[in-house]
Each structure stands twice: as C-alpha cells, then as structure tokens.
Amino acid sequence: MRNFTTRVLRRIAAGVIVLAVPLSAAFAQNNELVIALSTQITSLDPHFHNLTPNNGLARHVFENLIATDEVQNLKPGLAESWKAIDDTTWEFKLRKGVKWHDGTPFTADDVIATFKRAPNVPNSPASFAVYVKPVIDIKASDPHTLVMKTAAPHPLLPRDMTAFQIIPKTLVDAKTEDFNSGKAMIGTGPYKFVEYKPGDRVVFARNEAYWGPKPAWSRLQFRMITNSAARVAALLSSDVQVIENVPTADIDRIKSNAQLTVKGAVSTRIIYLHMDTGREKNSPFVRAKDGKPMEANPLRDARVRRAISKAINRDAIVDRVMEKQALAAGQFLADSFFGTSKKLPPEKYDPDGAKKLLAEAGYPDGFQITLHAPNNRYVNDEKIAQAVAQFLTRVGIDTKLETMPSNIFFSRGSKLEFSFLLAGWGSESGDTSSPLRALVGTFDPAQGLGSANRGRYSNPGLDAMITTAMTQIDDTKRALLLAAASEKAMAEQAIVPLHYEVSVWAMRKNIAYAARSDQYTLGHDMKPAR
C-alpha cells in the first residue's frame, strides 16, 4: 500500500540516481549527431539500388549475415559462424536472441525471404541479383541454421553475404515506397527510422533493444551536402559534426583547427590508366610526333606501356595533387588487402629510363596521344590527368587532355572510342579478384569477364590463372594464386596503376571514428573520444 510519502521518496531517489550518472553517459543519453554525406541516396529500400550511399544508410537499420570491420575483414553479423561443408555447400549458424524492431524474433526464414526479395525489386536500376544468383538452393535446417548450395565452387560466397541486408519475412512483398515512407523500415540494426526528407536528410533514433554494443548517440541526422566546399563550410560553422569525403584542398585547414580532426583509411579504389591494346593498327587518338596519322599502335608494345609507367612521378601526384590523401600504387590493391603480392612496389619515377624504353621500342622521339578522363567522378580526377599529361609530355609523348563529365566519358569509353584513358576501380569484395576479372580479363560477356576492360587487354594465360583462383575455396591457396595473377598482369603492364585513394573523414575532436576502407560512414561506430 503506497502512501504519498513513499511515492515522493521514490521520486527523489530516482532523481538522485539520475543526477549521479557520470557525465559521459549523460552526454550520450540524449544527443544528436549531425553527419554530412557527400552523395544523395536514391531510396531507403535496402534492395532497390546497389549504391554506396544507399548501402551505408541501410546498414544502420538493417544488417548483413556477415559483417565487415574497417579493413573489410569478415566478422560475424547476423550469422555467428559459417563454414564450407564441401566445395558447393555452406552452412551458416545464425545468432540467437535477435529481435526485429517490431519485437518479433529473427529466424532463418527471414533470410530465405530476403533471398526471394533482393533480386526482384521492380524498377531497380542496379540490382542485388548478382550476390544472390550463385546460391541455387537455400534451406533452413532449424530456425537458426541455414544451408546454401552453389552450382560451382564459389569461394566469394561469404563476401557476397556482406553485400546485402536482411529484411523480415513479413516484408517479402514490401514495395520501395513503403521503405521510403518508413512503414517498412523494420530491421535488426542499431538504429530505427525516424524521418526521411528526399534530397535533404534522414533521421534515425537509437534502437534501445539492439543485440550488439549500444551506439553512443541517441539520434543521428544525415544531411546530404553534395557540394564539397559547402560540406566543409558546414563543418567549420558547426552546423554538422562529421563530414565524409573531405576535399583534399581543405585538409590542411581542418587539421590546423584545434577543434577538428581528420581520419583517413586506404580504400579499395585504385586510379589507373587503361591503354588501347585491342587495336593492332590505327588507334583513334594516337599520332606521330609531327601530328600525322600513325598506322602502328605503340600501346601494344609492353615496353611503351612500361615507359608510360616510368615517366609518371607518382610521389609528386600523391603529394601535390592529392595532398597526401593517396598511396602510390604498383598493383591492383594496396598490399594490406587479400590477393595482393608482396613483390609489386610502385614503379619508381624514371624519366630517363622511360625515354630509353621508348627508343628501344622504336619511338626515340615519342609520339602524340590524347588522354581522356572524367572530370566529376573520382577525387581530383581532372587534376591527376593534367599531371599525367605534364609528365608524359616531358619524356616525349606529347599528350593532349580531354576531360568530360562521367556520363559522356563512360558511354564513349565503353564504346572503345578512346586510346588512352584514366579511370578508377573500387573492389567491393576487398580482394584482387574483382579488378583482375573486370579490368584485365579478356572481354567475354557470357562469362562476365572484362566488364570494365576498356583497353581490351587480352592474355589467355592470365585468364586461366584468374579462373583457377576463382574456383579455389581454400583462402590461403587462393591468395597465392591471385598474387601470382597480379604479378603476371603487372609484368605485362596490362594497366598503369597510379595510386590508391585514401578515404577521408573530418569531425570534431571529441568524436572518434575508425575510418573504413569500404568508405561507409556508420553512425553506430562513432564514439565520443576521450
């Protein structure tokens, strides 16, 4: 029987306890973190559009079977463990005690429903089918165990499981509009949906019943500020506390600000040069030194390609153009990633060596060429291309530069209209199989090889090495095979690698974030810094 006094005493006691909570926890109690993103999302539906900004935001509300840490190593997500039972069968043990945002428990049937929905979203501009396709059969042997079968050995299956989010089985027929309006935003993730203003912002609130570590901020507000200078200004004027994709020009200024800090991580994106090796004669933009048309195609000679590589001062580009937010490259991925070789350092700057090679190949005076590059796709793409043109001109390869927006560039490039182009490639899987297959594999639509091979480089020996590697389930063996393939590709200078991009975040000093190589900006991984 409560009387008035008891009630009052209880209230006072509760108040005292609240006041006694340490300050840092109070800081985390009811605080909103405002983060500025650099690209627009096109939808909140996790299966609608396979686009980095969409995927990044989706990860706050929905989770993957297998998660990745900041250097893209696999770690348990909704699946606690997984193993290959044989070459074409995999078993996943799912986490117990996980609840959806609406309170219902997470089971294997939800994963099966996800496999049904993910490849079949209507009007999807970039579908997730590619991750689900290799699995020809999926069964739940009990509510927390899944068995998946593939048609052929598929060592990248765990990787594919990191690429799409799991939705509850009740949403198997959910429409994209339901996600955008919030009705279908029911996931297992650390944050819940609050609000979405298209083109403007997304707001999340902390999921207090989350199974994993509790996120520090109770509210997240993601603002989409695509103009880089405006994004930096927003940070400087304290309108936002974290920004991603910091423009290289402003990094020094931010570093010199006592209240701000900069965090970077080598990404899986490589910036490289592709050369027309497909045409035996008459490459469209290659001319003799005096400007007359030239029948021979110098780019088919590996010595000329190596000369181009030697002529470029990568360190100068990293230092001057990228303001140190890049790592000079000698192969397809930085050597901290899977499938790279320890024997491929970046080519040293050697203009004399380049001239010698050119003379050896029969071009002592060099020749004329046009370099094509996009101007709005990669970090400082136009500037890098200008620098490359400068360096090549100095060793005798008179380089004209033509830059254009990416929509023109990729269309024309894929139609093989260029002789010499600058492009980038980001390996989603975090290993070298992706660039090897797409950039230097012989163009073969049926196999899905060479999808970005705009120079039509072709080496059947290399193709065989790549195919062997892709059927090798054992990780250690596969790593060695991929490294060997990388070495072979670089020996022939199939592409000229320039540098790996470093992804940069800037934030207030009292926030800590482990910069990620996959470029995701995840609010739940941000913590107050001591």
């Binding site: 402003d250 101007n375 500037k383 200008q386 400068q390 830059t403 927006p405």
Partner: protein, 302 residues
C-alpha cells in the same frame, strides 16, 4: 571663302567632336574607357607580356603548385608574381591568357546573340501574325532549356573548345534578347511616328531600320551590357560544372572555378586574382556601355 556676317560666325562642330565631348563629360566614363583600354591591351599582347605560356604542358611543373604570390620556382629563377595554381601555372600568365579567352567568348557570343535575337524580336513585333506566334513559341522552348543541358549535348557531340562554348552561349542567350526586343517594339509599333511613317509610304525595311530599331535600342543596350557580363559568368558556371572550356586552356571563369575549392583553405590567390580581373573587365565594359547608351539615346536631354 564666302562672306559671312561677323556677328554670326558659328563653328559647326563635327558629329564626332560632339560625341567625344559628350562622352568625356563623365569622369567615371573616362575611367571606364581607360580601364577597358588597359584590359584590351593586356589581352591582345598577352603572348608577349606573359612570362610563361600556360597552355604548354611541357613547361609547367607540378612541384611548383599552389605557391603563394612572390615565390620562386623550386628549380630555378622563375618568379611567380601572383603565385601559382593547383597545376603549377603562373597566375599572372594564366590571367592574361584568360582575359583573352573570356573577352573573346563573352563579347562574341553577346554580339551574335544580340544581333540574332534583336533582329528576330523586332521583326516578330513588326510583322506580327503567324510569324510572331511561331517565333515566340520557339523562344518559350529555348528559355525553358537549361544552359547546362545545351552545353552537355554540345560537348557530347562536338567536344570541347572555345567555339563550342560560344555556340552554347549564343543558343542560350538569343531568346532573351528576342523577347526583350519584341516587347520594346510592341510598344513602339503603335506609336504615332510609326503611323506617320507608314502614311508617308516608306518601305518596310526603312521603317524597321531607321525608325523602329533606334527606338527599341535603349533597353536592348542596357540588357546587352549586362548580358556580356552574364555570358562571361555563365561560361564560368559551365566551367565550374566541367562543361566549359578545356581545362588546359582556361578562361578567367575556369580559373575562378578551379580556384573555388581553395577559397576555404586560405590559398586565396588562385581564385581571388582572376576574380578581380573579371570584375575589372566587366566594370570597364559597363561603365563605357552606360555612357555610350546615354550619349546615343535620342531621348535624353543634352
């Protein structure tokens, strides 16, 4: 020498003399003229004045990028009067060459657009009927099309270059002139002097050229001088979006656009100096244009 009464010696001022003295009445206009002359001289003689040819990629040195004004080259004796930009280009040389390109682009596109647009607009107002309707609908379509899309299509099909940018700017601007000219001509169309001219049996061409045109000119000139500035600024915006001139042959607009990202980082010289050059150029054009308009306007009192 005919005998002229002493009391009535009038020295007939030549029209040119009169024009000059009227123009010179404003000190501001004289200043504008001097500034314009300076700008034109710099632009015309740029290849001789500029210490470096910023278009020659072989001469640029990446290691000299982003040096502040007054610094010297890393490898030698080259002095960068106004600093260097992100590619190692000498700002002073780049500005001189940029002046040439900007003036060429702005004035050429402005003049062509003005002539084309005014001609069509006045004609539409005079002829009326079907022709006017069709032309004005074309104007509506043209006005609705963003410059960006026009520029993008042109670059995709024709590539980049000074001439392509001029075409893009003319395409975007002519409709504006046409509409303004038509509105001014519409008012004039029904005024008494037009009726008088028709009553006199003057030919259409004469009416349009000698009577309609001069009276619709004043608002056109105001819009015209503003539009030259607008053309140069539009070219800068297109360059900012990557749709303007080739990046290795920059105009003032492209220099400003390139320097944009350095504004927050304190390397102001990459963007501010070209900006000042641009401001001075447009100021000069407009000061001269203002006075010219006032002097040539038949309706202002002398």
């Amino acid at each position: 020498m005919s005998a002229v009464p002493q009391t009535a010696i009038l020295v007939e001022e030549s029209p040119w003399r009169r024009f000059v003295s009227q123009y010179a009445a404003s000190k501001l206009a004289l200043f504008g003229l001097a500034l314009l002359a300076l700008v034109l001289l710099l632009a015309v003689f740029a290849p001789w004045i500029a210490p470096q040819n910023p278009y020659d990629l072989g001469k640029l040195d990446l290691m000299d990028a982003r040096l502040p004004p007054g610094s010297s080259s890393a490898f030698g004796s080259f002095h960068y009067l106004l600093g260097t930009d992100g590619q190692g280009r000498d700002m002073w040389s780049a500005i001189l060459y940029g002046l040439r390109v900007s003036l060429t682009v702005g004035v050429t596109s402005g003049v062509i657009a003005l002539t084309l647009g005014a001609a069509l607009g006045i004609l539409a107002a005079y002829v009326g009927g079907r022709f006017e309707q069709v032309l004005m609908r074309i104007v509506d379509i043209q006005l609705g099309f963003p410059a960006i899309l026009v520029a993008l299509v042109l670059i995709a099909t024709l590539g980049k270059g000074v001439d392509k940018v001029i075409i893009a700017l003319v395409t975007v601007q002519w409709a504006y002139y046409a509409r303004t000219a038509r509105s001014a001509a519409l008012v004039e169309r029904h005024k008494e002097y037009m009726e008088a001219a028709r009553g006199l049996g003057l030919s259409s061409a004469r009416i349009v050229l000698r009577h309609l045109l001069p009276n619709t000119l004043p608002p056109l000139i105001v819009v015209g001088t503003v539009q030259v500035a607008h053309a140069i600024a539009l070219e800068a915006t297109l360059s900012f979006l990557g749709l303007g001139l080739p990046t290795t042959e920059p105009s003032l607009g492209l220099l400003i656009a390139n320097g944009y990202e350095f504004l927050l980082s304190g390397k102001y010289w990459i963007s501010v100096y070209p900006g000042i050059a641009l401001l001075a150029t447009i100021l000069a054009i407009n000061l001269v244009g203002d006075q010219l308009r006032d002097v040539l306007n038949p309706r202002l009192a002398r």
